[in-house]
C-alpha cells in the first residue's frame, strides 16, 4: 500500500521514480514497518539523501524542514515523504505503543490507565476543573468535523451527527464519548518535495512550503500523560512561533487549519496553544462558530481524525494541498492562500505553513 502511494504521488507530480533521490518518513513507525529501502528497491529509487524525523504525528509537518535544507544544499533534488499505519488491523492497534515505555507498564497499565482515550480524558477532566468545559463545546468540535466530512464523500464515517446524538454517545473514558475519539484506520499517504523552480514545471499545480516549526519539550514520553500540566500540550507554542517566523506570516494570514485531532480535546487545546484564542477559551471559540467552514478559521475541512480517517496527519497535509489548489470541492475555503497543518506526538510538535503557488 505504501509503495502504491509513493508511486502515485510521484506520478501525480508528473515525475518518475528515477527523478527521486531522497526518501523521508517518521523515525519510529515507518523504519520498522515499511523501511525506505523496501520502497526504494521496488520503485528503482537511487538515494543521495535519506532522513527521518519525529514519531508519527509530528513527522509529516516537520519533514519539509529537513527536505528544504537538503534541496537547498544540493543533497537532493526531489524528496518523497511517506507514512502509513495498519492500526485498524494490527493486534493491539494504537495501544501497542505502550510496550515502548517500561514505566507505563508498571505504573500505569496495572491501573487500567492505558489507551490514548484514557490519557486525553484525564486532560479533558483537568481542563474542565480548571476552566469549565461544557460537554457541548467538545461536541461542537465533533459536529463541525462530521459536517465537513460528509461534504467530500470519501470520509470513513458516513452517518450524520446531531448534538443530541453526540450527547447520548457511548461513554469511552469520561468525559470523552465515542464521537470525541478518532476513528481507527489502515491507510497511507505520500507527498513529493522539490525546489520551487522544479515544482513550477511539474504536471500539477504545486503548493509552497512557507515555513515549518518543530519543537520538543524536556520531558520523557513515559511521563507526558501523567506528570506535566495536562491542560496544555508541550512544545505547541514554540513550534508555532518558529513556523510563523520562518514563513514571515501572522496568525491573521492563516485561512484554514488542519489540526491534529486524535480527540476533540486535543483540537481544543491546540487552538489555544497555537494562539488562535486564549487559554480556557477554546471551547467558546468553537461554539461561536469560528472553526466552521464559513468561520474565520475553518478547522479540519475534510473531517479530520474524528470523521475522515486516522493516519496520524498525512491526510491533513493532503487536505491542505487540496485546499490550496482549489480542489477541496464542497468544503473549499474561499480564497484559501495560507494553510496551517499541525502534528502532535507528545512531547514533540510540528507546525507546517503551506501557501498557494
Amino acid at each position: 500500500m505504501v509503495v502504491d502511494a509513493v508511486l502515485a504521488a510521484i506520478l501525480d507530480a508528473g515525475l518518475t521514480p528515477a527523478d527521486v533521490d531522497g526518501i523521508m518518513s517518521d523515525s519510529i513507525i515507518m523504519p520498522v514497518t515499511v523501511p525506505h529501502d523496501y520502497v526504494a528497491g521496488q520503485l528503482g529509487i537511487t538515494r543521495t539523501y535519506d532522513a527521518t524525523i519525529s514519531y508519527g504525528g509530528a513527522a509529516m509537518m516537520c519533514a519539509p524542514l529537513l527536505a528544504a535544507q537538503a534541496i537547498k544544499s544540493g543533497l537532493a533534488k526531489v524528496v518523497v515523504f511517506y507514512f502509513g499505519v495498519d492500526w485498524g488491523s494490527r493486534p493491539g492497534g494504537p495501544y501497542g505503543y505502550h510496550s515502548l515505555y517500561p514505566a507505563k507498564g508498571v505504573f500505569e497499565q496495572p491501573y487500567g490507565y492505558s489507551g490514548q482515550p484514557a490519557y486525553f480524558a484525564m486532560m479533558a477532566r483537568r481542563y474542565r476543573e480548571t476552566y469549565g468545559l461544557p460537554q457541548e463545546h467538545l461536541g461542537r468540535i465533533a459536529l463541525n468535523q462530521r459536517h465537513n466530512a460528509l461534504l467530500n464523500g470519501r470520509a470513513q464515517v458516513k452517518a450524520p451527527l446531531t448534538l443530541e446524538g453526540y450527547l447520548n454517545g457511548r461513554p469511552i473514558a469520561d468525559p470523552l464519548t465515542l464521537n470525541d475519539c478518532c476513528v481507527i484506520t489502515d491507510g497511507v499517504g505520500a507527498y513529493v518535495m522539490t525546489s520551487d523552480d522544479r515544482a513550477d514545471s511539474c504536471a500539477r499545480r504545486p503548493v509552497r512550503v512557507l515555513g515549518a516549526g518543530y519543537a520538543a519539550e524536556a520531558i520523557t514520553a513515559d511521563d507526558v500523560f501523567s506528570q506535566p500540566d495536562l491542560t496544555r500540550f508541550p512544545a505547541v507554542q514554540v513550534a508555532m512561533e518558529r513556523a510563523l517566523a520562518s514563513a514571515d506570516v501572522t496568525r491573521d494570514d492563516i485561512d484554514f487549519a488542519e489540526i491534529y485531532d486524535c480527540f476533540s480535546i486535543s483540537c481544543l487545546l491546540q487552538l489555544e496553544g497555537l494562539g488562535f484564542c486564549k487559554r480556557g477559551e477554546g471551547g467558546a471559540f468553537v461554539a461561536e462558530g469560528h472553526t466552521a467552514l464559513d468561520g474565520k478559521l475553518p478547522v479540519n475541512t475534510h473531517g479530520g481524525f474524528l470523521s475522515y480517517s486516522y493516519r496520524l496527519g498525512i491526510e491533513h497535509v493532503l487536505e491542505a494541498v487540496r485546499q490550496l489548489r482549489g480542489e477541496a470541492g464542497a468544503a473549499q475555503v474561499k480564497d484559501a492562500s495560507v494553510g496551517l497543518v499541525t502534528g502532535l506526538s507528545v512531547p514533540e510538535y510540528g507546525a507546517l505553513l503551506l501557501g498557494r503557488a
Binding site: A103, Q109, P110, E129
Partner: protein, 136 residues
C-alpha cells in the same frame, strides 16, 4: 487477573517500599527535589546521586476518569473503573496514577485531599488507591 509485568531494576525500590506498605520516590541528593517516573539522573540538576525517600501517604487529586471502554482484554472484566492522578503532598513534583473506588465519583473534585493505601494482590504488582478524606 492481571499478570505482573517484569519490573526493571530501577523501578524495584518502589515495589520494595509498597511491600512494606510504604511509599518512596526518587529524590536528588544534591538539589533535594523529587522526580517521577524513575530516571537515571535528576531532571532538575542532572545529578546522578539519587536516593529513594519514604513520604507520607497523603495526596491531592489532580484529575480522574471513569473508564467505560476496555482497552485491553485484562481490563474488560473491570469496566467501568475509576483511575485518578494525584499529587503527593510530601514529594513535590510526583504525580501518581491511582485507583479510586468508583462509588466515590460524585464527591471528586480537583484539589481534594485524601489518603493513599497499598493494595496487595497475589501474582500482581502492588497498586496504590486514593480515598478522599471527606468520605471517611
Amino acid at each position: 487477573m492481571i499478570s505482573a509485568p517484569e519490573v526493571m531494576a530501577e523501578f524495584r525500590p518502589f515495589f520494595e517500599a509498597t511491600s512494606r506498605d510504604h511509599l518512596a520516590f526518587p529524590q536528588c541528593e544534591e538539589c533535594h527535589r523529587f522526580h517521577w517516573y524513575p530516571l537515571q539522573r535528576c531532571p532538575h540538576c542532572t545529578s546522578p546521586r539519587l536516593t529513594w525517600t519514604r513520604v507520607a501517604k497523603r495526596a491531592t487529586l489532580y484529575s480522574w476518569t471513569m473508564i467505560h471502554h476496555p482497552f485491553t482484554e485484562a481490563d474488560a472484566a473491570r469496566v467501568p473503573y475509576l483511575v485518578g492522578l494525584v499529587d503527593l503532598v510530601e514529594a513535590k513534583g510526583v504525580r501518581l496514577v491511582v485507583s479510586i473506588d468508583r462509588q466515590r465519583l460524585p464527591q471528586l473534585a480537583a484539589g481534594l485531599a485524601g489518603g493513599l493505601t497499598i493494595e496487595h494482590r497475589p501474582g500482581e504488582l502492588d497498586r496504590v488507591a486514593f480515598t478522599p478524606d471527606a468520605s471517611r
